[in-house]
Symmetry: C2
Subunit: 326 residues, 2 copies
């Protein structure tokens, strides 16, 4: 079986590929379990640090149609589409965001439609599709009202995936992800970048800036659970997806203050003291438009998982950092 992963060199992409290699087999759209023979890992930057004959690395701009025909072919059973321009960048460069987050997704779906094999297509949406007046706990029936271009592009992609699945062009599943923490490495241009930064930087002995109020409620998931859920989302039989293809993931609802308290518990006062609270109105506007809690009833009924507490999220990050390169 051939699996294509876009955004393969990214935070989730790299972890997903490691997990797929470890599993060794996956279920195709006909429900048959097949050994994973090829993983086509595509990104603008080359995937490094994975040495396995099953992985073919290629690079390019996914929004350039020339790459698609080579990447996705008649032997492709599944696509994990993770390539994206992050929220902060999509807000600054509208055309880039639309081209990568929407047009490239559409081109991928069109390519799969043309091939006609109804491949599995798993992608990651975001809580940034929500906004406006929101209840304290967002239900699956909550309307989408994005307050950013990134959120708009994710919602556009969700609608397309749903219709391409309904028409039988692909077997799509869009997992609407919480903010994934703790992300290793450097800060990125996502508006949510600080959510990892306030844990990661202090643990690395560096200062961190928190641009939002400590009372801000975030909706989080650890990278471990995110990968579990991506694989689960792929494996679920289409017949179980009775309430649609776009699924609000379960998560952990927590205030920034409680995240800091957790860091203090695990790493001590000196580490927690490395966080400075300096409000940034541009980031606050975007982050405050995202819900901090979801019922995620549909996802729970389908068996998607969530983290039990933030202490274990930090502990997993510390353990991960000592074994996996960022």
């Amino acid at each position: 079986m051939k699996i294509v992963v876009t955004g393969a060199a990214g935070f989730l992409g790299k972890r997903l590929i490691r997990a797929l290699l470890e599993r060794g087999s996956m279920t195709d759209s006909a429900g048959e379990r097949r050994p994973i023979e090829h993983i086509a890992a595509f990104d603008v930057v080359p995937l490094e640090g994975i040495d396995d004959a099953r992985v073919q690395v290629s690079t390019g701009d996914l929004a350039d149609p020339a790459h698609l025909e080579r990447l996705v072919d008649a032997g492709t059973h599944s696509v994990f589409h993770l390539a994206a321009v992050v929220s902060g960048q999509a807000e600054q460069d509208f055309d880039l965001g639309m081209r990568v987050n929407f047009d490239a997704t559409r081109a991928l779906l069109e390519r799969l439609r043309a091939l006609g094999q109804r491949a599995k297509f798993v992608m990651t949406s975001s809580v940034a599709v929500f906004g406006g007046a929101l209840p304290a706990c967002v239900d699956d029936s909550q309307v989408w009202a994005p307050q950013s271009s990134y959120g708009t592009e994710k919602a556009l992609a969700d609608l397309l995936l749903a219709d391409y699945s309904r028409r039988g062009f692909v077997d799509g599943r869009s997992l609407r992800m919480p903010t994934i923490v703790v992300r290793p490495g450097k800060p990125n241009r996502a508006a949510s970048s600080f959510a990892s930064g306030i844990i990661r930087e202090p643990l690395n002995g560096e200062p961190a800036v928190c641009p939002v109020d400590p009372r801000t409620v975030l909706w989080l998931m650890s990278p471990l659970r995110a990968i579990d859920n991506l694989i689960h989302g792929h494996e679920l039989p289409a017949a179980q997806l009775s309430a649609g293809r776009v699924i609000n993931m379960p998560g952990l609802s927590i205030t920034v203050a409680d995240m800091v308290a957790s860091l203090r518990r695990i790493a001590g006062d000196e580490v927690a003291a490395r966080i400075a609270f300096t409000p940034d109105p541009a980031i606050e506007r975007i982050v405050n438009s995202w819900p901090g809690n979801f019922s995620a009833r549909y996802a729970r009924s389908l068996g998607f998982v969530h983290d039990d507490g933030f202490d274990s999220v930090i502990r997993a990050f510390i353990a991960d950092a000592s074994t996996v390169a960022a």
Copy 2:
């Protein structure tokens, strides 16, 4: 002031142009009332039957970018974008629907963005964006879950219009319209075509087929109210649009059986007896996925109007048919 109307030769387009000519002036995005000097009426078929020096008729495919530059220019203050492929046709021809209902809308928005004058942009969405498990009365917070490609395309356009407005590229307003009845002329390829047909054909002495159960609840608006609301939606100051640019219109919630009873009251038993109930599963599937009732709280707070009862809708149709050509 120059106003562009796409879909100008259509049911609503033609009526809107007549209403604009009669009004003589409209409010621009700066809030200034200006005389209507030009109406650029665009459609694939030529607009006929309106003889007024202010109206310039041109024809072409809106999805062909060549037309846009001529049609929409630096002098354009407002666009009423009504051109669309109807639901039944968009379901049969996926590519055509995407091209006209989504790509052409996007191209229009892009053209206005490039011109940079933040023109008013009014378009018509549809209750076909809703589907799946729905409460008896749909609230403004209800998630969109289209069960047709037409509904998907309308939702895609709604998301774009909202983000283009948020970014200040245009001053957009999308009115989510009920099914408009009674439509004169011939049946069309909308799944809702029967809703007009079961009134129009019997009144014209012809047999009509109703493809859905008489207990089916429909969400309706008369063409008179639709035009009032299109003009009201244009005139509303942007500052009042506190809960967004996509607005579920108020309407009339009525069963097919009550529509027939109304026809019987007004035109007699013999006329009502011309309706045969012959279920069509393809149409039933689409129509039953649409909600039959909405709270439309936001729209009501903004002053949008609805019909008080179905008898007056039928009477208005009879009066209209005797004065206006279809």
